[in-house]
């Protein structure tokens, strides 16, 4: 069973979360549901700081023993910080996807893009439907 999806952030249909820092930046990562599907994450490839990304385009890669998966950027903008801790400890994504397993901070091009994302209740509903 995955952990509940916190209501303090928004969610993409590709299973990323974005937390609005209310200063034009967000913090992002993948959801607990996503890490559960991926299981044992052994490698996270993060973007370079300064990289420009577009909403819902690949920005990072997570690898389990068996699989390689893209992580999509929840908003358009510029990468201003990445979670270096994941280089040595990719398992943090499995252990704490909503906390210590965060991936990057982005400076948003357009905060209105957050409206394209789901709130926690709708995301929870979506993954419930996926299971059926």
């Amino acid at each position: 069973m995955s952990k509940p999806n916190p209501s303090d952030r928004k969610y993409s249909k590709e299973h990323e979360w974005a937390m609005d820092n209310r200063d034009g930046t967000i913090k992002m990562g993948i959801t607990d549901h996503a890490q559960e599907l991926l299981t044992d994450i052994v490698f996270v490839e993060l973007p370079a700081v300064g990289k420009k990304v577009k909403q819902m385009e690949p920005m990072a890669v997570v690898e389990s023993v068996k699989s390689v998966s893209d992580v999509f950027s929840p908003v358009s903008g510029e990468v201003i910080e990445v979670n270096k801790e994941l280089e040595e400890h990719p398992e943090l994504v499995n252990q704490d996807a909503f906390g210590k397993g965060w991936m990057a901070k982005l400076k948003m091009d357009d905060p209105a893009e957050l409206n394209n994302l789901m709130d926690a209740a709708r995301y929870t509903e979506m993954i419930k439907e996926e299971k059926h």
Binding site: T39, D40, V42, F43, E45, E63, V65, K66, V68
Partner: protein, 364 residues
């Protein structure tokens, strides 16, 4: 997708199911790393019912097999197993197989799952072409159930249920015995680099043995293990996977099957292989370790001095060694251990080094 007799049990155990060569197979029950460690440190139980068993029996059985197999099995004793390959006229690998000699004129070829039908028609065709009428080739795959019990505690666990003392059964040997009064063929062999057994019986009885082994083994740390960990275990042990590391365009001399290829005898493909050997090989399958972060995967390109020179055939993160390793084809001049290569991972060329196989060897 075809289902093994253990399919419902995998579902009940919560396994994630994937399509493997047309078979619905468990890729993992809990997670790959846990299942991998269980097998290396305690024991793991694998559903291998999907693999093929082709019986070859009769006065001309040895003659047919000597023509089909790259290896000379002339002196193979009853109860002994030999690893071999079957090649086509060009020396390309049709399949890698284990051959069990069960009686005076009685052999079983254990094939890969995805190649079984192809193997069977190949064997039948060669039998007819060679005019061998005094040998029977029977596909017993559907009737046969097979599970592998692998890991250092395998013998202790199986001994609880087996009619015979397992200690005298030596590596790559098989013996008829009973497990819970059910007649089985047990061999000390496997595909993980650990001590362990392959257990064969009629498919209708395999479920009972599976259940009892899991029950008895639970106290010893036995876990059911899916194809995910089977792949990391075999790769650490430097073993190849048909369809991944080799196919009909690859010869045994180019991969690690040179030692099972005897060019002194005549077999399908032997003259092509002799010619290739005289001419000299161009490429070789080697093991490599990543020297920087990143995991090389099947199909990734290998570079040397700015030029594409080869391809990765298998690659993963290995739980026991805790590093990324793999197998790749490289030109012979670059195949020596210690040679540095680059592997393209997405838009980056990552450093890797060629190393000796296997990556992992168990302590005896």
């Amino acid at each position: 997708m075809k289902k093994t007799p253990l399919h419902d049990r995998h579902i009940a155990l919560g396994a994630k199911i994937i399509d493997f060569g047309g078979w619905a197979m468990p890729v993992q029950y809990s997670n790959v790393i846990e299942e991998h460690h269980a097998t290396r440190m305690k024991a793991g139980l694998f559903d291998i019912c999907h693999m093929g068993e082709i019986e070859v029996k009769g006065p001309q059985a040895l003659q047919l097999l000597q023509w089909l197999l790259s290896r000379n099995i002339e002196g193979q004793a009853i109860g002994q197993i030999k690893l071999s390959v079957m090649t086509n006229e060009n020396g390309g690998i049709i399949d890698d197989v284990t051959v069990y000699r069960l009686g005076e004129e009685h052999y079983v070829i254990v094939t890969n799952a995805g190649t079984k039908d192809k193997d069977y028609s190949w064997i039948e065709t060669q039998r007819r072409v060679r005019g061998l009428s005094d040998v029977e080739v029977v596909d017993n795959s559907d009737r046969t159930g097979k599970i592998d019990l692998q890991g250092p505690l395998s013998q202790t666990i199986l001994q609880n249920l087996a009619s015979d003392d397992l200690a005298p059964l030596t590596y790559y040997h098989a013996e008829d015995m009973q497990v819970m009064k059910i007649p089985v063929l047990v061999s000390r062999s496997g595909y993980t680099g650990e001590d362990g057994f392959e257990i064969y019986t009629e498919s209708r009885w395999i479920g009972e043995i599976w259940d009892k082994l899991l029950e008895v083994g639970a106290g010893f740390g036995l876990k059911p293990v899916g194809l995910g960990a089977r792949d990391t275990l075999r790769l650490e042990a430097g073993m190849m996977l048909y369809g991944n590391d080799m196919d009909e365009t690859i010869t045994p001399l180019e991969v690690v099957y040179g030692w099972v290829t005897n060019l002194e005898k005549d077999f399908v493909g032997s003259s092509a292989l002799k010619k290739l050997k005289e001419k000299g090989l161009e490429r070789k399958l080697v093991g490599f370790e990543m020297e920087e972060r990143g995991i090389a995967r099947h199909g990734y390109k290998v570079f040397k001095d700015g030029t594409e020179v080869g391809v990765v055939t298998s690659g993963t993160y290995t739980p026991t060694l805790q590093k990324a390793v793999g197998l790749a084809f490289v030109p012979v001049p670059y195949s020596r251990p210690g040679t540095d290569i680059l592997i393209q991972i997405r838009d980056h060329h990552a450093r890797a080094r060629i190393v000796e196989l296997p990556f992992y060897r168990r302590r005896k």
